[in-house]
């Protein structure tokens, strides 16, 4: 870490430099590692087009780093960016994992955020668990995975591979205060859709709770096998397909002495899983849910501690 002596004022700059030099003599200073294309403080990964558009709009990340799938706000040739956005090549774990691995290798982001929409899970009465509803935003507390339970005729058995859960310190120091303080309704820039079945008043909220990842190979949510697989995850608030991908990748890629990435999953609720299918409602809410999630992610990133790049004074 560089020692900041700038408070001494311009008159003492030379002295400050000399003191700094003495203090750091014989010490090797390392900053956050570089990837092949440069360095990013935060990497935001979206999957479906609605999620990518919402993130691009909210973060104003429109400039493409040449010959890469990454978008930034500042000069794309800079090599050192604050927030970088990408869209996964497909919405399953294999391509998503590859995309996350590539982003890590290219940019070594300190924090990764999986941003987008998810299905809210309902209780036995068909109501969203913990009051979760359309347009609400979930910041994942931990990630479950349907395939960690092998359900057979002979019983249910645990199966695991190593994963990371969303960062606990980030949850404590960023997500929790954000969920208490942030005025999501005031920050939203999109009109809330009026298509709701059954009709009700929805006030956007931020939840912190478990998310469960389904396995796309097992079919969609209406498939009886999938429904059966989700049953044991009775306290998860939402279901998606990709969280397990980032959980596995971050765990696997946190393998160098020099690189310790953390991640968060921020999901807007675009539909409720359980009540009869309503394609129109889902279609109407998808852009709004993606927007709400992007607004929360923007605030989440704003609250992250800054990691100064060399030569950048904060």
């Amino acid at each position: 870490m560089q020692i900041n002596l700038s408070f001494l004022g311009s008159t003492y700059k030379a002295l400050a430099a000399a003191v700094s030099s003495i203090l750091t003599a014989n010490r090797v200073v390392y900053s956050a590692p570089l990837g092949l294309k440069g360095r990013a403080r935060v990497g935001v990964i979206t999957v479906i087009p609605e999620e990518f558009s919402a993130a691009q709009e909210v973060f104003d990340l429109r400039r493409n780093i040449p010959e890469t799938p990454y978008f930034v706000q500042t000069d794309p040739t800079l090599g050192d960016w604050d927030t970088v956005l990408t869209q996964a090549t497909d919405r399953t774990n294999v391509p998503l994992s590859g995309d996350i691995a590539a982003m890590i290798q290219d940019l070594r982001p300190q924090v990764l955020i999986l941003l987008g929409v998810a299905g809210g899970l309902c209780d036995d009465n068909g109501k969203g668990r913990d009051g979760i509803d359309l347009g609400h935003v979930l910041i994942a507390e931990y990630v479950g995975y349907v395939e960690f339970l092998k359900i057979t005729d002979k019983g249910t058995f645990h199966r695991h591979y190593a994963i990371d859960h969303p960062s606990l310190p980030l949850r404590r120091s960023v997500a929790l205060p954000l969920s208490k303080e942030f005025d999501l309704t005031g920050a939203l820039k999109l009109q809330q859709p009026d298509k709701v079945t059954p009709q009700r008043q929805i006030v956007p909220r931020i939840h912190i709770g478990p998310i469960v990842s389904g396995e796309k190979v097992m079919g969609d949510i209406h498939d009886p096998v999938q429904i059966n697989l989700l049953k044991p995850f009775d306290n998860s608030l939402a279901v998606d397909m990709e969280s397990i991908g980032i959980a596995r990748q971050v765990c696997e890629r946190r393998s160098s002495f020099w690189y310790n990435p953390r991640y968060a999953v921020i999901r807007g609720i675009s539909d409720l899983v359980g009540p009869p299918e309503n394609a129109e409602v889902r279609a109407a809410w998808k852009p709004f849910a993606a927007h709400a999630a992007a607004i929360v992610a923007q605030e989440f990133i704003r609250r992250l501690p800054r990691d100064p790049a060399p030569g950048v004074s904060l």
């Binding site: 090797v28 390392y30 590692p33 570089l34 092949l36 479906i48 010959e67 497909d90 919405r91 399953t92 774990n93 294999v94 391509p95 590859g98 691995a101 590539a102 890590i104 290798q105 290219d106 070594r108 987008g116 929409v117 998810a118 299905g119 395939e147 092998k150 199966r159 591979y161 389904g214 396995e215 796309k216 190979v217 097992m218 079919g219 969609d220 949510i221 209406h222 096998v225 999938q226 939402a238 279901v239 998606d240 397909m241 696997e252 890629r253 393998s255 160098s256 002495f257 020099w258 690189y259 999901r267 675009s270 539909d271 899983v273 299918e277 394609a279 889902r282 998808k286 849910a289």
Partner: protein, 662 residues
């Protein structure tokens, strides 16, 4: 760690510099040109942008990982040496991973290290083969600002499966460790790159005539077989006066005689030893004590002194260039009776179909009918190997006959229109690599009738060829007479397999189909395989029952492989009801199929069929089977395979809106 990262950097930099100084120099030093392609299709077709050797480091910095795919003798190793020196000058730490030192025992070690996770293989590679010696932890301990490049030589000298796994492990370590780059030298063959976007693909371009002249000066007269001189190994031989007519085998022979001082008889014994070394180890290395025992101390030390064999520290040794080892093996096998060309031998000398240099050399050594006979043997073993061997062999008109070549091309070309996309790709690759003009019509054919046209124009009075041609040219949907169908039993592989393929595209009566079903009980495994192969085109419950029985009960892996492929093919051609039955029955057998590796792999390949031929509900069939296969395995790599099949199927055949979690 006992030292700080900065100290670790100093230690490793010094060790790397020391190793670089000791790298052998190539004299003369050739300046190679590299062709860079976006993907394997372009690479094999010859679509590339060109750079000099310096372009390699730029690409490396841009992409992170580079594959240099090239033919044997193409100068890959010396290019790697020079690149390491350039990398060091650009402040990289070059770590050389020399897979040429891989021994037979390393296959077991590799299996052991990667049993839980393929990624672990990178640590094994570094700890076992790195020069300078370093562990993956020590490598990671270098400061994050230090650029490291793993330079891997000899991937083509390992079995295809392990080669593929090594690429995966290298991909992982370069992602895991900060500022870690990878260069891999490989043979000219399509690999599944773990993350295509982050690999650059290149090949070493052949020397131009101007380049060849620049190394010789004006006095040199370019010989007739000048294509040989486009390759550094042979240009080097020519410059040193070792160029003799007769292709690479003749040059290797001349080189060995001149430099080893061995008599023909002694060379024959060495050739026998070289084959035994491959059979025993499936690797380039062998125990030096075995050489001592086989050849006697005097000869063993003589070839060691002549640097034809190099010794390693751990009691192992290897031939100084793999072409020398390959030539010796080819020399031995070319002189044997065809009964010596067994599947086991061909598997061993090709490292399980990973490298076809030996088979190409054998083909180059054989003349006329014997060459054609060997090509038939290759065809019987692996059609694609026959194609590759023909492409690589240096035959100047006295190799396989034009008829035999036309036959191989035609059989490959027919597979370009196979229903299974992976089969099409393999056939295309095998034809693309063949530069000779007589392959062009087969490569250019846009449909099967155009392939027939190419076969028709072959001017031949050879009886066997014209008989084969008569069979091959049976049009789609035409009837096939019983006499022709009976050729499926023929011990001649060409006739037997041709009729198995022809039967698939002709019309067989119920009786003929019944006869095919009966053949599934034959003693000869290859006949059962051919019958299973043909039955896939005839959707009927009786045929389905026979194939599922073969899948369940046949002791021969080839037959089970043929049965699963045909079942999937049948599902594609059948009505909804039978398709559903097939999917359900395959689903029920998922646990069993999952442990039958060859069958499971073929199932994954076969499910991805041509979109134009896929029935409307094909996605559902693929999903049903993928799901059961996914659930039947707990291995993350296999699970990823089935996720990938399902995901590719959705991209290809899916028109459904996703209703899962948004």
């Amino acid at each position: 760690m006992k030292v700080s990262p900065a100290q670790q950097l100093q230690i490793l930099s010094k060790a790397a510099r020391y190793e670089l100084v000791n790298l052998p120099d190539e004299k003369p030093t050739f300046a190679l040109r590299l062709g860079w392609s976006h993907n394997y299709d372009d690479l094999l077709t010859g679509i590339h942008s060109e750079t000099d050797e310096n372009g390699l480091l730029n690409k490396l910095l841009e992409k992170g990982k580079v594959v240099i795919a090239g033919r044997g003798g193409g100068g890959k190793t010396h290019l790697l040496y020079r690149t390491m020196k350039r990398a060091a000058a650009a402040e990289f730490i070059p770590i050389f991973i020399d897979l040429k030192k891989w021994s037979g025992a390393d296959y077991e070690r590799w299996k052991d290290w990667t049993a839980a996770d393929l990624s672990e293989g990178a640590s094994f590679l570094i700890e076992r083969f790195s020069i300078p010696k370093v562990s993956s932890l020590e490598l990671d301990w270098l400061p994050p600002t230090a650029k490291k490049v793993l330079v891997v030589d000899g991937l083509n000298e390992l079995s295809a499966n392990v080669g593929q796994q090594i690429l995966y492990a290298l991909n992982e370590i370069s992602t895991d460790q900060v500022q870690t780059y990878v260069i891999v030298a490989d043979r000219l063959v399509r690999r599944q790159l773990p993350s295509e976007r982050s690999w650059a693909l290149s090949t070493i371009l052949p020397f131009s005539e101007a380049q060849i002249r620049s190394y010789f000066g004006d006095k040199f007269r370019i010989p007739n077989d000048s294509r040989m001189l486009e390759i550094p190994f042979f240009l080097n031989a020519a410059i040193k006066g070792d160029l003799v007519p007769g292709g690479r085998a003749a040059i290797s022979s001349s080189f060995l005689r001149k430099h080893s001082g061995l008599t023909e008889d002694q060379l024959d014994r060495l050739a026998r030893f070289a084959l035994d070394a491959y059979l025993e180890n499936k690797a380039r290395t062998f125990a030096f004590s075995n050489l001592l025992q086989s050849m006697g101390p005097e000869i063993a030390h003589k070839i060691l002194a002549a640097r034809i064999v190099e010794k390693l520290d751990d009691g192992l040794a290897y031939f100084s260039h793999h072409l020398v080892h390959d030539y010796l093996v080819a020399r031995h096998l070319a002189r044997q009776e065809p009964t010596a060309w067994t599947r086991r031998t061909l598997n061993a000398v090709s490292f399980d179909r990973s490298s076809f240099d030996v088979t190409a050399l054998i083909l180059g050594l054989l003349k006329g009918q014997r060459a054609s006979l060997f090509l038939r043997t290759l065809y019987d073993w692996d059609l694609y190997a026959a194609g590759y061997a023909m492409a690589e062999a240096d035959t100047q008109g006295d190799g396989p006959t034009k008829e035999m070549r036309a036959l191989i091309f035609a059989m490959l070309a027919e597979k370009r229109f196979d229903i299974v996309m992976a089969t099409r790709q393999r056939a295309n690759d095998a034809l693309l690599i063949y530069q000779s003009p007589d392959a062009a019509p087969y490569r250019a054919a846009t449909d099967l009738p155009r392939v027939f046209d190419a076969v028709r124009v072959v001017d031949s009075t050879e009886g066997w060829f014209n008989e084969w041609r008569r069979l091959f040219l049976k049009p789609l949907g035409s009837p096939l007479d019983d006499e022709s169908l009976n050729l499926i039993l023929d011990t001649d592989s060409v006739r037997g397999w041709t009729i198995a393929n022809v039967a698939k595209r002709t019309h067989l009566s119920s009786d003929q189909q019944s006869r095919l079903r009966g053949l599934l009980a034959q003693d000869e495994a290859v006949v059962r395989w051919r019958a299973a192969h043909a039955l896939g085109s005839f959707p009927a419950h009786a045929n389905f029952d026979a194939l599922i029985r073969a899948l369940d009960q046949d002791p021969e892996a080839d037959v089970r492989y043929g049965a699963i492929r045909s079942l999937i093919e049948m599902a594609c051609y059948s009505d909804v009801e039978l398709r559903s039955v097939i999917a359900t029955e395959v689903e029920r057998r998922a646990d069993r199929i999952s442990v039958d590796n060859r069958v499971a792999t073929e199932l994954a390949r076969a499910l991805l069929i041509d979109l134009q031929k896929a029935p409307q509900d094909w996605l559902q069939t693929v999903k049903t089977i993928s799901r059961s296969m996914f659930q039947s395995t707990e291995d993350p790599t296999n699970r990823d395979l089935w996720r990938s099949v399902s995901s590719k199927a959705e991209a290809l055949y899916g028109h459904e809106n996703m209703t899962f979690g948004g």
